[in-house]
């Protein structure tokens, strides 16, 4: 499992709708803000990149020291962004794909307003489990 990993889902109107520190590092809340700054800045790169390829998984789009930002863009232009220090690309891809399944289930919920914050604890638990499994 990665030491540091910050996972965030950004809605199509650039608002973060889910955020989780999924790293195994002990002081996980510590750098959350720093991580968000990096992820937010990486949105610019994603904006440029997302339209140049048909692939959903954009792999590593940005680096900050030894931290890498990997991005997965869904068809609805929701962006899954992961800030991580591990280099396990396949694992990250699987992680993203499974999270998308979860996200679609959230979207299917008639009470969920697309673009609003995801507060489901079930979703949170599942995402953290996936992070443990793949990252």
């Amino acid at each position: 499992m990665a030491n540091t990993a910050c996972f965030i889902i950004v809605s199509r109107n650039d608002i973060p709708i889910y955020e989780a520190e999924v790293g195994s590092a002990m002081k996980k809340e510590e750098a959350a803000q720093q991580h968000q700054f990096i992820l937010h800045a990486a949105l610019d790169i994603v904006e440029d990149l997302a339209w140049t390829t048909s692939a959903m998984f954009l792999k590593a789009v940005d680096k900050f020291n030894d931290l890498v930002v990997s991005v997965y863009v869904t068809a609805g232009h929701t962006r899954f962004m992961l800030l991580h220090d591990s280099r396990n690309e396949d694992g990250i891809k699987s992680f993203f794909q499974e999270v998308q399944e979860l996200y679609i289930k959230i979207l299917l919920n008639p009470l969920y307003l697309p673009g609003s914050r995801i507060t489901s604890s079930h979703f949170d638990t599942k995402v953290r489990a996936l992070a443990r499994k793949y990252l």
């Binding site: 109107n13 650039d14 608002i15 973060p16 955020e19 002081k27 809340e29 510590e30 750098a31 959350a32 803000q33 720093q34 968000q36 700054f37 990096i38 937010h40 800045a41 990486a42 949105l43 610019d44 790169i45 440029d48 990149l49 140049t52 390829t53 954009l58 792999k59 590593a60 789009v61 940005d62 680096k63 020291n65 959230i106 919920n109 009470l111 969920y112 307003l113 673009g115 609003s116 914050r117 995801i118 507060t119 489901s120």
Partner: protein, 1182 residues
């Protein structure tokens, strides 16, 4: 890059030396410098100075010293400025050819020069300088000179000083020889050192690195970039291996030296790569460089050295990228992050490195601060002792201490502790903050121009933090404001939290209470729910003044700010800032509009239950307040403001009666309502419903709701309509129940903060009096009465409008171009005549009177209650048309009220315009007289034909006027008016009878006939007879229209007048008596100059017997009369048809038959006895 010495930054340039003839040096050196590639010249004016070229003498017996360092600091400098690759000795030709002493001097100089360059492979050139061609040096001398100098022929050059072209030639030759010699020299030197590397004649890594470096530099001298790169990389690789193995120096300084050398080697490599256009390789190389050295932090105490170094790497690389002449390839493979292209798009941008350099510099500053605080007390004294005597030593990356003991100066190595102290002192001299800000600013501007606002804002945030640390709060606030608006817009709550924390702190430093409250309220109302965690000491650095984004922190922020609002004092921070307090003298007011982020803190929404209301009658409105602050908010007082200030009211928290008492004192005319409690729980609407009464018509809009908390704080929210209310963008969660601002969901979707107050009911009557249809041509009068029965009328204005009832609006049609006396309008408003008070305000009345053909405005005088005013609208119809008459009266019931308080009253009336009288006519010939009219004979049936009249004969014109309206009329006169003088002579029309004496009444449907005799005197195919002129009036008992008759004119069609050739007249008595014979004559009058043959016949009939021929023919002489006489005896009584007469004119083939009426006679059974007066009898006989 400015840290690096000049010689490192620029590519090496070959160096040659010239000795002797100083007057030529300027020419030679400038020429060589301008060559491509350039050559630098070391000019020695005379041979006494040649010792600089000499090699430093080494004691061959001294034992080889251990290697003290990797690279010598001045080696590169030396080779660029002192060690020439070739030496040219200049001799004047006259010296060589002169006396033996001079020749001897030349030889000695040459010998000395040879001795000086001995040991180095410096090549020698001899130049003979001739002033002009005449002083040629003999070949023998040249050979001798060459032998002395031990050089080839081609290295002996002759210079012709005074001939420009020759001199240029010589210079070119010299330059090429120099270039060749330099190349040889540097190749030789390089090869010499390379053999050492290959043979491994040394056993230290340092030497290996040094030799590699030298080989690379020599390769650079001769522009062999590939080899230079290879050896720089080799040196770099060797250096990397040294890290763990070298023990020569104390550990800290060892690392410092290695990093310094690595930096130099890396710089060289990157420069070469970038100049070769290999941007991607250069970046990859840089990433490798950083990756291999980033972990070498060293001990905590001196880690700042590492971060400083790392930051410099980024900075230098950024500058290299920026100044690199090679443009950044625009066609980089689009997909980054793949194995074949591991770069991201931003890695080719210098800004990316600038911001990283700044980040590491921040790290350095932080480490330096912590080192300082650690060593603060312990080494205060040692620092003081630390002298300036520490100097950079001869080796790159090393330092040494200079010790002066009397005259001798000794250089001593330093211990690590001393070195660190020295480094700390050095580092303290720099203002890192400015550097960091400058770097971030550069990156920020660059990212902004690259249209990457988020990357730019990341830089901006860090820049602002740096400003904050440097206590430049103005700039910090400026930048934080910028980024927080982006984060707010994109909803990155955590980042917004942090920015706001800084902003809040800035406002505290400024002592700005309002800002402090605003930022605090916004922070406290952000949707952050994470459970509180204990702040670790380190987190202060990570999170800034805002602290961890947790729910408990939000609560504490709210408590702090509400404490301030309730009058508590926020004490200044220990390290500066002002004390914040709100006083009653300086109340604070915060405004919240629809786009303010503080809507989260307080959202006010107002809905009227109705859409419109009668003036003065009450209506309900619901006021809803919502707050997302984590703790419940208690409001002391709510002030609701409307656009009609009379409606404003105040809601007072009943619990706080203290403020109520105070309130009553200052505002007595404002309505005060009590509410049991005004507590706003988190995310729950507080709904208050009150009654509002507006006496003023128009729009009643709730403008704002001001919540007063504490004695001197107000938050003023712009009121919003629930129907058009924007949701709070941050507070939209799937698990949050959607709440409505009003209890009734329908009102939530349709409720508005505006209500329409209707106009007051008009208490004035407007009466339009006309009822009957209007008649075309007459001036139709519509009486209009304004009667006040409740309102007084001030500044009244009456508008009259005539509109076509069938629509279309216009009362004229351009197609019907027939001109009217008053334009093309079919219906026309002639005038509005006022009565009553008109006389008093005549002048004013006329001022605003304005009448057009279908529109009129008049002012209405002031009317008291019970007064009335009337006027008459005079409308004239030119065509039958149905018209809507609209009359609207606008007035203000009060003389003082503003114009908005006008009351309007509208009335309309449809008026039909009708034709009153239809006129028809017919022409007749005199009884039993038939002229032969040829135009009638020739006319074809079916084609409309003009009426033909006989010339000089009197015809009868009967004009019939029928009343086709529904009102009784009176005919005043009926006449035929001839149109022109000429026609009046041609045709005389005389009134014969049929018109009653005066003002004959004409009931609806009745006909009226006028008889005229028409005698035409001119033979004309188109004779205008004239127009029928009928003057009539309504049969009204009222005296209004006594004098005015309406003239209806109708033009009679033109007629044909012609000379009849024959006129037949029948002559018989007016009546007959049964059995009594009478004479019947038929006269045929020939009016022509021709003989007219006629045939005639008389048919048998049952009622009569007659004597005379049945058929006959005859001739009528010109201008004479032919008479046929029959004696007829009636056999039956009653109205009988005479025997059928048929007369035919042979010439014209026309029959001249009498009409049926003419051939009828009444037969009495016996002699009648008329009992009539003499006068009457006459009439009948006529």
């Amino acid at each position: 890059m400015e840290y690096y010495p000049e010689e490192l930054r620029t590519p090496p340039i070959s160096l040659v030396s010239v000795v002797g003839c100083p007057e030529l040096h300027q020419t030679i050196s400038s020429f060589l410098h301008a060559e491509q590639p350039p050559i630098n010249t070391l000019a020695l004016p005379d041979f006494s100075k040649i010792s600089v070229l000499a090699r430093k003498h080494k004691d061959p017996l001294a034992s080889p010293q251990p290697v003290a360092g990797i690279l010598k600091r001045d080696w590169l400098m030396k080779h660029r400025t002192r060690v020439a690759a070739a030496v040219a000795a200049l001799f004047r030709a006259d010296y060589v050819t002169g006396d033996p002493a001079q020749w001897l001097q030349v030889c000695t100089d040459l010998e000395n020069l040879k001795a000086a360059v001995h040991g180095r492979s410096i090549r020698l050139i001899v130049i003979l300088v001739q002033t002009n061609e005449s002083e040629d040096v003999s070949e023998d001398l040249k050979i001798a000179l060459r032998k002395r100098a031990e050089i080839d022929t081609k290295y002996l050059i002759t210079f012709l000083q005074n001939d420009a072209s020759e001199l240029r030639q010589s210079l070119t030759r010299l330059a090429s020889i120099f270039a060749e010699l330099c190349n040889t020299y540097y190749r030789e030197e390089g090869r010499r050192i390379r053999t050492r590397i290959e043979k491994r004649t040394f056993n230290s890594v340092e030497l290996n690195i040094r030799y590699c470096f030298k080989v690379a530099v020599y390769a650079e001298f001769r522009r062999d970039w590939a080899e230079a790169l290879r050896f720089y990389e080799e040196a770099y690789r060797a250096l990397r291996e040294m890290i763990a193995t070298s023990t020569r120096l104390p550990p800290v300084q060892r690392l410092v030296e290695i990093k310094a050398v690595a930096e130099q080697l890396h710089f060289k490599t990157s420069t070469l790569l970038l100049h070769g256009g290999k941007v991607v390789e250069a970046i990859a190389w840089f990433n490798k460089h950083i990756a291999s050295y980033r972990q070498l932090v060293g001990s905590t105490k001196n880690s700042f050295l590492h971060w400083d170094w790392l930051s410099r790497q980024f900075l230098v690389f950024a500058e290299l990228l920026e100044t690199s002449t090679v443009a950044i390839p625009s066609t980089l493979p689009s997909h980054f992050g793949t194995s074949e292209n591991p770069l991201t798009e931003w890695e080719v941008q210098p800004a990316y490195y600038y911001q990283l350099a700044a980040s590491y510099l921040r790290e350095k500053r932080y480490c330096l601060d912590s080192s300082l605080s650690m060593t603060d007390s312990a080494s205060a004294n040692t620092l003081g002792k630390n002298p300036e005597s520490v100097l950079p030593s001869v080796f790159v990356g090393q330092s040494a201490r200079l010790l002066e003991q009397g005259d001798t100066i000794e250089v001593l190595p330093l211990s690590d502790a001393e070195y660190i102290n020295y480094a700390i002192t050095e580092a303290q001299r720099f203002q890192d903050s400015y550097e960091i800000i400058a770097l971030f600013k550069k990156a920020y501007e660059s990212f902004n121009s690259l249209k990457a606002p988020r990357l730019a804002s990341h830089c901006s945030t860090r820049m602002a933090k740096e400003y904050f640390i440097a206590e430049d709060f103005n700039n910090a606030k400026l930048h934080f404001d910028g980024v927080s608006s982006l984060y707010r817009q994109e909803g990155w709550v955590t980042l917004l939290w942090e920015s706001l924390g800084y902003l809040r702190e800035c406002s505290r430093r400024f002592g700005s209470v309002k800002d402090f409250i605003e930022y605090s309220l916004e922070m406290a109302s952000l949707p952050i729910f994470s459970a509180g965690e204990v702040e670790t000491p380190n987190s202060k650095r990570e999170y800034g003044p805002a602290g961890l984004p947790t729910l408990s922190r939000r609560e504490s922020v709210q408590n702090e700010v509400f404490g301030l609002l309730r009058g508590e004092n926020i004490l200044p921070l220990t390290d500066g800032g002002c004390s914040l307090i709100i006083t009653e003298e300086q109340p604070v007011r915060v405004d919240v509009d629809v786009i303010s982020p503080l809507r989260m803190a307080l959202l006010a929404c107002v809905a009227f239950h109705d859409q419109s209301v009668k003036p003065g009658s009450p209506t309900m409105m619901t006021l809803s307040l919502l707050s997302q602050l984590p703790c419940p908010v208690e409001v002391d007082r709510l002030e609701i403001e409307f656009n009609q200030p009379k409606c404003n009211f105040i809601i007072v928290n009943a619990v706080k009666d203290l403020s109520t008492a105070q309130l009553d004192m200052d505002s007595q005319d404002v309505r005060v309502e009590n509410a049991p409690s005004l507590i706003l729980p988190t995310n729950k609407w507080l709904r208050l419903t009150y009654e509002v009464k507006s006496g003023q018509s128009g729009k009643l809009e709730c403008l704002s709701i001001t919540a007063k908390i504490g004695k001197s704080f107000m938050i003023c929210c712009q009121a919003e309509s629930p129907a058009s209310m924007e949701e709070l963008p941050f507070w939209k969660f799937e698990d949050q129940v959607e709440t409505f601002p009003t209890k009734d969901p329908g009102l939530t979707y349709s409720g508005l903060k505006v209500i329409q107050v209707e106009e007051p009911e008009p208490q004035v009557d407007l009466i339009l009096g006309a009822s009957s249809p209007a008649l075309v041509g007459e001036t139709f009068v519509v009486p209009l009465t304004i009667k006040s029965n409740g309102h007084e009328v001030y500044s009244g204005e009456l508008k009259i409008n005539l509109v076509d009832a069938r629509g279309g609006g216009l009362l004229m049609s351009p197609r019907e171009a027939e001109p009217f006396s008053s334009g093309n309008h079919h219906v026309e408003l002639l005038s509005i005549s006022g009565t009553g008070v008109e006389d008093e305000s005549q002048t004013q009345f006329d001022n605003i009177r304005k009448i057009q053909q279908s529109f009129g405005v008049v002012s209405v005088p002031v009317l008291r209650v019970g007064d009335s005013w009337s006027c008459k609208l005079e409308i004239k119809w030119h065509r039958p048309k149905s018209v809507m008459l609209y009359a609207s009266l606008g007035y203000s019931p009060n003389s003082t009220e503003a114009a908005s308080q006008r009351v309007n009253i509208h009335r309309s009336l449809q008026i039909e315009g009708k034709i009153p009288i239809s006129i028809s006519h017919c022409f007749m010939m005199p009884f039993r007289r038939e002229p032969l009219l040829l135009s009638k004979v020739k006319s074809l049936p079916g084609i409309e034909q003009k009426v033909s009249l006989a010339l000089n004969e009197t015809s009868v014109l009967i004009v019939t006027a029928q009343n086709c309206s529904e009102v009784p009329l009176r005919v005043i006169s009926l006449s035929i008016r001839s149109d022109g003088d000429e026609d009046s002579r041609a045709c005389s029309v005389q009134h014969v009878g049929g018109i009653p004496a005066d003002n004959a009444p004409l009931v609806p449907g009745e006909e009226f006939k006028g008889i005229f005799s028409v005698t035409s005197k001119v033979d004309s195919p188109n004779l205008e007879v004239g127009s029928v002129c009928l003057v009539w009036k309504r049969d009204l008992k009222l005296g209004d229209f006594e004098d005015s008759g309406v003239v209806t004119e109708q033009k009679l069609p033109s007629v044909i007048v012609e000379q009849p050739p024959l006129i037949v007249s029948f002559d018989c008595p007016p009546h007959a008596i049964l059995g009594v014979p009478f004479l019947f004559h038929i006269r045929i009058h020939n009016q022509t100059n021709l003989l007219q043959e006629i045939k005639y016949s008389l048919g048998d009939c049952q009622s009569f017997v007659f004597s005379g021929p049945h058929d006959n023919a005859g001739f009528v002489l010109p201008k004479s009369e032919y008479i046929m006489s029959y004696k007829i005896v009636p056999l039956c009584s009653g109205l009988q048809q005479l025997p059928q007469v048929s007369i035919t004119s042979v010439r014209y083939s026309a029959a001249l038959n009498p009409s049926a009426a003419a051939a009828t006679i009444f037969v009495y059974p016996s002699e009648p006895e008329f009992i009539v007066g003499a006068k009457k009898q006459e009439t009948i006989l006529v």
